[in-house]
Every structure is written in structure tokens, then in C-alpha cells.
């Protein structure tokens, strides 16, 4: 899967860096430590910009291209920052059959961003996700941890309005 890279400048804080160093120290020497470290790093920063990848590579003493290779391979590693409200629309089979594409199109149109993009004010980001397993509620979207199910296209405006 092709990944978009962030064009926004990196704004890491010293506290975040300290937390990352602790994570690296905890896992260093473990077998297969790279992915757990990257997962925890993403929890700290919200995404994995190249600056963070370099810190991980340095800390674990692995080439930065290996970190980059892993970051680009897995869809859960984000190279772009996420919005304050993270919108995910499930495009699993059950949701797709029940019209999820129309839901995502409507959100795109309302917010002026495509999948894997973040609005300029940092408020909303949009992504299409794989099955979240709530097939009984298809089609489903989530805004942060809030789940909206049994959607029809016209529900989108009301849902977005709650977060505007």
C-alpha cells in the first residue's frame, strides 16, 4: 500500500523524546523488539515521522531503512499526523455490501479531504479501515472511539456537525 508522507513540520517535545528513550531501553535486546517499540512510539507521538524513525533506529542500533521499511509495510503505522477527530469508515465486506463507499464519499465531500488526509486546521482526519468486526451494525464508521452503525448517507452531516 502506498503511503502519504507528512508535509507538516515535526513538533516533538522533550517529554515525548524521554518517553521514547524509556521504551527503547525497555525493549532493547529482546527478540523482535522493533515492532513493539514502533507501536509504543506511535502511541507517544500519534504518528511516526522520519525524525522518530531515526531515533528508533539509533536507539535499537538497526539501519533506519529497516525502520522505514517496517513503517511503510504495515497499514497501522502512520507517517502523517491524525486529526483531533479521527474518522474511520469500515470498508469490510459486510459494510461495503451495505453501502459504506457512499458514506466515505459523503464525508470526503463535506470535509474536502480524501482518505489518509488531515484537514489544515488539524481537526479531522479520514481513513478507510478494514473490518472492525461490528458487521452486525454495518455500515459502520468511528469518530475516535465513538462507533456509529447502521448508517445511511444522510446521517453523515449530523454526525460531523457534532464535532464541528
Amino acid at each position: 500500500m502506498k503511503k502519504r508522507k507528512s508535509n507538516l513540520p515535526f513538533k516533538g517535545t522533550p517529554e515525548q523524546e524521554k518517553a521514547l528513550m524509556e521504551v527503547i531501553a525497555k525493549h532493547k535486546g529482546e527478540k523482535g523488539a522493533l515492532m513493539p517499540v514502533m507501536q509504543e512510539a506511535q502511541e507517544i507521538y500519534g504518528y511516526l515521522p522520519i525524525e522518530v524513525q531515526q531515533m528508533i533506529a539509533h536507539g535499537l542500533e538497526v539501519p533506519v531503512e529497516k525502520v522505514y521499511g517496517v513503517a511503510t509495510f504495515y497499514s497501522q503505522f502512520a507517517l502523517t499526523p491524525k486529526g483531533e477527530y479521527k474518522i474511520s469508515v469500515c470498508l469490510g465486506t459486510a459494510c461495503y455490501v451495505k453501502g459504506a463507499q457512499a458514506i466515505i464519499d459523503r464525508i470526503s465531500e463535506k470535509l474536502g479531504i480524501g482518505p489518509d488526509e488531515c484537514t489544515a486546521d488539524g481537526k479531522f482526519s479520514l481513513e478507510a479501515c478494514r473490518c472492525i468486526g461490528a458487521c452486525g451494525l454495518a455500515p459502520v464508521m468511528t469518530v475516535n472511539d465513538e462507533v456509529y452503525g447502521r448508517l445511511v448517507e444522510s446521517d453523515v452531516d449530523d454526525i460531523l456537525a457534532k464535532y464541528m
Partner: protein
């Protein structure tokens, strides 16, 4: 001693509909009513009938309340728990007889055809309390193998049971164990594949969320059988509840001495670590999964060498799927013959299916192997909603194929499904009705595979992309009959030449829709029509003049101004402007706008 037990589902489906808030409200109301010493609230795993969630069952009456909301809680406490009057309006309609009796859940159509082995504790116990698992004979099988059985006896029992891998391939589990046991090494590993990636499949998640200890117990048994001391569970990060409960289960098992050093004082050591996937479908393939645990890009490796010889960290490794594991302690306790008595000649035991798509009772069902598709869809699943006609069922996700109406009575087992060009897969079963376009479905799965192809081998990386391009061309109305033949040829090429299971099975959705629904492909390329009315480029919205009351509502809702007409004058859709959004058809109160 409690006089009443309130079981509330804490699985993903029901928590998505706020069942955790219902639990909170329930506890608060019970306290307010002074019943906290009389009524026990239990957060369980999935009951299976997700379409009716959030679900609550009140024992001893066995009342099955469905689609409960926080607002209903007070009434349930005041009426049912305090005064003993069942809240009938919330009962699942099938559990309620005309003579006002509450019927047992096991007598309803949804449950009575089922046989729950892998799911036996889901929706019954609190998955976050190890004692509840132990009370259901949990860890007895581990005790039995460690104290009474030799490793080779364990392997023989699993072999005799006829258990085959539930993750998709259907390889005999006992044979896998035997091969790994036969390879001497200083270190061996047991891995559990909990990277349930097929869209529409959620049976493994339900086991992990509803009965996590069963997986740990099975892994420890496997470890003893093959001589491994370390296990890894590779679970997808998309299942946060499963991850949390697995971690709780591992910690509790440690505390009870059921994992770690010198288990049951027998000198046997076994430990389990969790590893989180990061969203790559290919990591459900065994070699890719192991590469991923090692901390690399999850690309598959060529086989041989098989993992039983050289697996994780180059050591002999076995990998079992979650549902497979959930059967193992039961086989040890009840014997191989008990397990082999269920199912068909070559497919023993039961299989869990995740029913989804156009079906009344979306949810999880577990049936003996060999149950017909008709029983699963009509009797258990409640049939197709809105009186629509069944067209096909899709099994095996992006690696599988579809089963058309003509095979409705086929007994479902591994070999029958392969013989009609589909596969068991992990057990996702998506039902499609007459409104589903089979070309569009094939395209949907190919989009998935193209997206998830790891890129290592050319047949998969390039081949699936070419397939998708041809499908796209067909759905846009630009395809030719020659394209269909070309596509079919390419499918066989990819099947024969791709490196791993994902690539080799990627063309299956195309091949199986071509096999059973070739006429739909032909309609797309020759008549330039999409019979189901799904492919946008091939459908038109038209106004039925006889039904049209000429109210002009549609002209106002059309986002692109494609509808001409004023009040009391005929309306007309300009096809060159129409974007086929369907807003007019949704808005029309007289159903005068139809898709053709």
C-alpha cells in the same frame, strides 16, 4: 449466594452499541434498589446473535433481552429484578410463546441447530476472571496431559480426533504437531495465529474476547506435545478488547502457576508473549506471520523449509489458529472419538461461521461440519431481509469464492467447498441477495488483494493489479468478451506461480464468480448493463411518469441540477448530467424514480 444473574455481552459488537454503559447503569440501578447482594452482573463474551445487540440475559428465568438501551435498565431492575415481572417488550420475539411463556434460548431457531464446542464458554463466563474458566473445567486438560499423558499420546489423540486447522488451509493439526515434535532442537516455539484478517470474519475475536484462557491452555498443551517452552500469540491490534483480555488472562494464569516455570509441579515450563500485528493481511500467512514476529516487514518466505523444521527465529515452530486451539482442551478431556463423532468423513468436529451481509441474524454460529448452507442461512440466519432473493454466499474471504443458490443444499465441509471452487477459509460467510453485483464483488476483493499484496513476488504484485484493471474496465462498461477470457487465463497463471497462499488464492473471487455468474459478466460487456444495478456507469435513474405526482421535490434535491421539471409539469433526468447519487430516488415519496 445470588438469586439472579444478569449476563451482559461485552463483545465488540455489543460494546459498539454501548453495552459497557448498560453494565454501569445496571450496577448503579441494582445498588439503588438495594439488590447488590441478590443480583450479580456478569460481563461476558459474545452470545453470537450480534444483530440483536446489545444483549442481556437474566437467569434463572433465562430471559433474552435484545437491543437494550441505557434507558431500559431502570425498567428491567424495577420490574423484573425487583417485582419478578418480565419486561416483555424487550424479549427477543422468538423466545416468547403465544401462551406468554418464556422459551429457552436453546429452543430458538438461531441456537437449536448449533453445537457449541469452540464457543462453549462465550457468553457464559466472565472472560476476565480465571476462576470462571476453571469452574468450566478450564486447565483440566492441561493438568491431564502433564500428569497422565506422554507427549506422543497427546499428539496421537489430536491425530485421531481428525481436527484440521480452522484458519483456512485445513491441514491436520495432529500431523503438524507430529512433524514439529520429530525435529530435535534446543528451542521450539508454539505460535497462535490471532491475526484474523478476512473481512467479515470475527469468530476468532469472539473466542479471544469471550474465552481467552482456552487459547492459553491449548498452547501450553501444544508446547508439551512438541517440546516447546515459549509461545507467541500474534493478535491484530484492531482488536483492542481481545488484546486487553488476553493480557489479563496471561497475568492471571501466571499468578495461578498455570503458565511460567514448573507448571503443576511437573517440571514443565511454558510461557506466552503477546505480539501485536500492525494491519497487514498477508501476516495471516504462516511464514509472513513469523517474519513479522521477528520484527521485519511481514513478507512470506518460500516453503520448504516448513515452519515445523525452520520457523520462528529459524527454530521448529507450530502455528495454530484461535478456533483450532479452542477445540483442543475439549478433545483432550472428552477423547478423540467424541470429537470424531461430529462432522463428515474428512472434516470432523464443528465450524464457527460469521454470518454477515444480507441476512436477518448477523452473528456467530457454530454448527457440526456437514451442515447444509440452507440450514445455516434459512433456519439459523433467519433468511434474507426485505423479502429479497438469495443470490450467493461468499466464503473464505478474499481467498475464497461464492456458493450460488444451486448449491444451497451442499453439506459444508473442507472438501465440498473446494470441489465447487470456494474454500472454508476462516469461516466468514457473507450472504448476498439479488441487489449484489457479482462483478462488483470480485472487484471489491481484488481491490483488497492489490492493496494487501506485499509486493515480493511478481505474479501477485503485478498480476492482481492487471486483474483489477480489467475488472474496472468491465464495470465501467468498456470491457469486451476477449477481456473476460484474458482475465481467466491470467487468473490461472497467478494461481500457479504466486509465492504464498495469499497470492495463489487471490484470483479465486474472480474465478468463482466467472464460474457461476458468467452471464453477469457478459451482461456487463455485451449488453452494457449491470443486472443488479450496482455499477454506476451502467445504471440510469429514470422517472416513471405514471407514478410521478410532479411535485418537483426531486429537482430540488438533485445536487447537480440534472432533473428538469416544474410543479405539475413532467419531470425528466438529464443522463449526461446525472452523477447517479440516488438522492432523488431516496427523496421521492411515491417511488417514482427507479434505477435501471
Amino acid at each position: 449466594m445470588y438469586r439472579s444473574q444478569v449476563l451482559i455481552c461485552g463483545g465488540t459488537g455489543c460494546t459498539s452499541s454501548h453495552s459497557l454503559k448498560i453494565i454501569e447503569a445496571m450496577e448503579a440501578e441494582i445498588k439503588a434498589a438495594g439488590l447488590e447482594n441478590d443480583v450479580n452482573v456478569v460481563k461476558t463474551g459474545c452470545f453470537g446473535l450480534c444483530a440483536l445487540g446489545p444483549i442481556m440475559i437474566v437467569y434463572p428465568e433465562g430471559c433474552f433481552y435484545s437491543m437494550v438501551t441505557v434507558d431500559d435498565v431502570k425498567e428491567i431492575v424495577q420490574e423484573h429484578l425487583l417485582k419478578g415481572r418480565i419486561v416483555k417488550r424487550l424479549l427477543f420475539k422468538e423466545t416468547f410463546t403465544e401462551s406468554n411463556d418464556v422459551k429457552s434460548l436453546n429452543e430458538t431457531d438461531f441456537y437449536k441447530h448449533q453445537k457449541r464446542v469452540a464457543l462453549r464458554n462465550c457468553g457464559v463466563i466472565n472472560p476476565e476472571v480465571i476462576d470462571e474458566y476453571i469452574a468450566m473445567d478450564g486447565y483440566q486438560a492441561l493438568g491431564k496431559v502433564l500428569t497422565e499423558m506422554k507427549p506422543e499420546d497427546v499428539i496421537q489423540t489430536i491425530l485421531d480426533s481428525g481436527l484440521r486447522g480452522r484458519g483456512g488451509g485445513g491441514f491436520p493439526t495432529g500431523l503438524k504437531w507430529k512433524l514439529a515434535a520429530g525435529n530435535a532442537a534446543d528451542q521450539k516455539y508454539v505460535c497462535c495465529n490471532a491475526d484474523e484478517g478476512d473481512p467479515g470474519a470475527f469468530m476468532d475475536r469472539s473466542v479471544l474476547e469471550g474465552d481467552p484462557h482456552v487459547v492459553l491452555e491449548a498452547m501450553a498443551i501444544a508446547g508439551y506435545a512438541i517440546g516447546a517452552t515459549q509461545g507467541y500469540i500474534y493478535v491484530r491490534a484492531e482488536y483492542p478488547i481481545a488484546v486487553e483480555r488476553l493480557q489479563i488472562a496471561i497475568d492471571q494464569a501466571h499468578e495461578y502457576g498455570l503458565l511460567g516455570k514448573n507448571i503443576f509441579d511437573t517440571g514443565f515450563d511454558f510461557d506466552i508473549e503477546l505480539r501485536l500485528g500492525a494491519g497487514a493481511f498477508v501476516c495471516g500467512e504462516e511464514t509472513a506471520l513469523m517474519t513479522s514476529i521477528e520484527g521485519n516487514r511481514g513478507e512470506p518466505r518460500p516453503r520448504p523449509p516448513y515452519p515445523a523444521v525452520k520457523g520462528l527465529f529459524n527454530k521448529p515452530t507450530i502455528l495454530n489458529n484461535v478456533e483450532t486451539s479452542a477445540n483442543i482442551p475439549q478433545i483432550i478431556l472428552n477423547g478423540a472419538d467424541w470429537f470424531a463423532s461430529m462432522g463428515t468423513e474428512k472434516s470432523k468436529g464443528t465450524k464457527v461461521f460469521a454470518l454477515g451481509g444480507k441476512i436477518e441474524h448477523t452473528g456467530l454460529v457454530e454448527v457440526p461440519m456437514g451442515t447444509t448452507l440452507r440450514t445455516v442461512i434459512e433456519d439459523i440466519g433467519g433468511g434474507i431481509p426485505n423479502g429479497k432473493k438469495f443470490k450467493a454466499a461468499q466464503t473464505g474471504g478474499p481467498s475464497g469464492g461464492c456458493i450460488p443458490a444451486e448449491h444451497f443444499d451442499i453439506p459444508i465441509d473442507y472438501d465440498n467447498l473446494i470441489s465447487i471452487g470456494s474454500m472454508m477459509g476462516s469461516g466468514g460467510l457473507i450472504v448476498m441477495d439479488e441487489d449484489t453485483c457479482m462483478v462488483d464483488i470480485a472487484k471489491f476483493f481484488l481491490e483488497f488483494t492489490v492493496d494487501e499484496s506485499c509486493g515480493k513476488c511478481t505474479p501477485c504484485r503485478v498480476g492482481t493489479k492487471r486483474l483489477l484493471e480489467i475488472l474496472d474496465k468491465i464495470t465501467k462498461g468498456n470491457g469486451t468478451l476477449e477481456d473476460i477470457d484474458k482475465m481467466e487465463e491470467l487468473c490461472y497463471y497467478i494461481k500457479e506461480n504466486a509465492l504464498c497462499g495469499l497470492g495463489q488464492t487471490a484470483p479465486n473471487p474472480v474465478l468463482s464468480t466467472l464460474k457461476f455468474f458468467r452471464d453477469e459478466y457478459v451482461a456487463h460487456v455485451v449488453d452494457k448493463k449491470c443486472p443488479a444495478g450496482v455499477c454506476k456507469s451502467l445504471t440510469q435513474y429514470v422517472i416513471d411518469d405514471e407514478k410521478c405526482k410532479k411535485c418537483s421535490l426531486c429537482t430540488r434535491v438533485c445536487p447537480v441540477g440534472a432533473i428538469q421539471g416544474t410543479v405539475k409539469n413532467p419531470h425528466h433526468i438529464d443522463q449526461s448530467k446525472c452523477i447517479k447519487c440516488g438522492a432523488c430516488a431516496d427523496a421521492c415519496k411515491f417511488k417514482a424514480i427507479v434505477k435501471k
